[in-house]
Symmetry: C2
Subunit: 375 residues, 2 copies
Amino acid sequence: MFLIESRDKESMARTGLLKTAHGDIPTPVFMPVGTAGTVKGILQRDLSDDINAKIILGNTYHLYLRPGTEILKAAGGLHNFMSWERPILTDSGGYQVFSLTGNRKLTDEGAFFKSHIDGSRHLFTPENIVDIQRIIGADIMMVFDECTPWPCDYNYAKKSVALTHHWLDRAVVRFNETDPLWGKEQIMFPIVQGGTFEDLRKLSAEKVASAGLEGNAIGGLSVGEPAEEMYKMIEVVNDILPVDKPRYLMGVGTPVNILEAIERGIDMFDCVMPTRNGRNGMLFTSEGTINIRNRKWIDDFSPIDPETPSIVSHFYSKAYLRHLVMSGENLGAQIASIHNLAFYLKLVDEAKKNIEEGNFRKWKYSMVKKLSERL
Amino acid sequence: MFLIESRDKESMARTGLLKTAHGDIPTPVFMPVGTAGTVKGILQRDLSDDINAKIILGNTYHLYLRPGTEILKAAGGLHNFMSWERPILTDSGGYQVFSLTGNRKLTDEGAFFKSHIDGSRHLFTPENIVDIQRIIGADIMMVFDECTPWPCDYNYAKKSVALTHHWLDRAVVRFNETDPLWGKEQIMFPIVQGGTFEDLRKLSAEKVASAGLEGNAIGGLSVGEPAEEMYKMIEVVNDILPVDKPRYLMGVGTPVNILEAIERGIDMFDCVMPTRNGRNGMLFTSEGTINIRNRKWIDDFSPIDPETPSIVSHFYSKAYLRHLVMSGENLGAQIASIHNLAFYLKLVDEAKKNIEEGNFRKWKYSMVKKLSERL
């Protein structure tokens, strides 16, 4: 169930509360990505107590291959397996399968693909993707979809949307005829596709809205298209998606992307950027973006970012973090990942606070300026 | 200052307290290895609060190359640089330089070597190794020595011991004519060498004892020789080293090695085994040793080791840890490293408790049996 708690008067931004079987999620929310049942390099305790993640993502494709459904079933689901008591959302595997260019074949039935680990052959269908997510026990399941690349031929995108919609119907049937395996309610979100074509996005948003599920997602964005096109597509889609249900923009994005999307009525986000960029030495801070490999940080003994509420952001200096990253020490990736996630979560929390206080646009304007700084 | 607190009646084992500028160290003690200013993959907070390390090691060779003495000086020493408030011991670099076979040349003056990072040329002397450790600000500094390989020709070992002794004299002069840079007392330990030759070990122990420093170390063991030879050399040396000063056995070893050495009067240990083996999926547990990659753990959802007092040992299951290690996820290495270090520290704590209670040999006998189990 989703409750809207406040609305911004000057934009489509809003705050709310999404209730799931493993806990309530205040929105807007950023969900750290835990691909294979681990947010890379971060202990679950730090994820809950330090970063204070309200929900994390798991990846159906990766979890299906490793550890596999047999082990996940024996464990009693992913929450038990990975010792994580808060909500989990699993993506549908669509994005991963369609990234396996050359190693997958699409039919009406589903997607045949070869494992990136051992080359073994598998088939994902809208039905078995529901079944796998039942075994995983995700609080929020996603419908199997085709994620089109960018740029994409109009005719391909049109056919692809039709296939995604056909799969949506089948997924809903399977969802309705099955029950959670672990005694906890699961909800499912369908995904709007349509590339950067306004008419296809509208068509898809209407189809998705008509499915009447508990929340809705927008996929296939932030795949290379200019940010302005992405924002336009969000506007087109959010004009159609029901206002009273949570809207999840998949795989987006930079801090600025997130603020622009919140302004356009998005409630939920996930992205590998804070962790992946962190592993490469890129840090998001309250003063702007830092490449910690830059020589200018070599003797900067000030904290990574005193404004970010994570212990690592205060505890470690830029010079020390630089040393770790330059020396290829894993601790560098760990610190940067924790810091960047804490930064993202704080950003979204502040957005929420500013929406509640009627100050969102003004605050957003000043933040976008700060966030665009490269230190 | 070193205070002996209790002695085992049936062996040379003892417990004590080594007072350093950054805190008291109860002995026997195991010191986690923090080569380049980081115990690999472990946040400082977890090292102090969860593993409860009383002292850690830094490596003079690695720190000299990266971040370098200029940065360490600007930071005010290694404690500040890495945000670690408890004691630090730095090894002398001897072991690392002599591992650079083909890339180093030994003279009376010191050791010329090429950096393993960029091939740049450097010279370590007994004097500049003192100077570097003054900059690092280690609570316990080590004297520059030559670590001989095993097997080693008698004549080579004899010459090597003479060189190590010559360097010891020079290091003591430099130590006495310099002061700590950061206002905290530093002590220095010389190192007994001599390969597996009893007469050379005796000669070296006498030389080292005569230096009258605050503690003494035994190097050049656990480099490939049979364990029985190592134990014999410890006995020979510990008969000569002063009883009232701490004895540090460098780079040793397996849990069983450590218990055997405690029985023979050793107080201090360091070894990369708990972290390095952990990264490879080998776990030390209260029931025996585990290779977590083994298929038998695939659906074992019991905790890693309920008897080891670290949160990860209780919190995570063997099956989950196996999944992480098999998937190449860094979190696997992190969990295994924290667990193994907590296991080592608990082992040494229990040795201490059993010495105090007069039960050491009986306890040790039962532990050696358990520790030799492969599960």
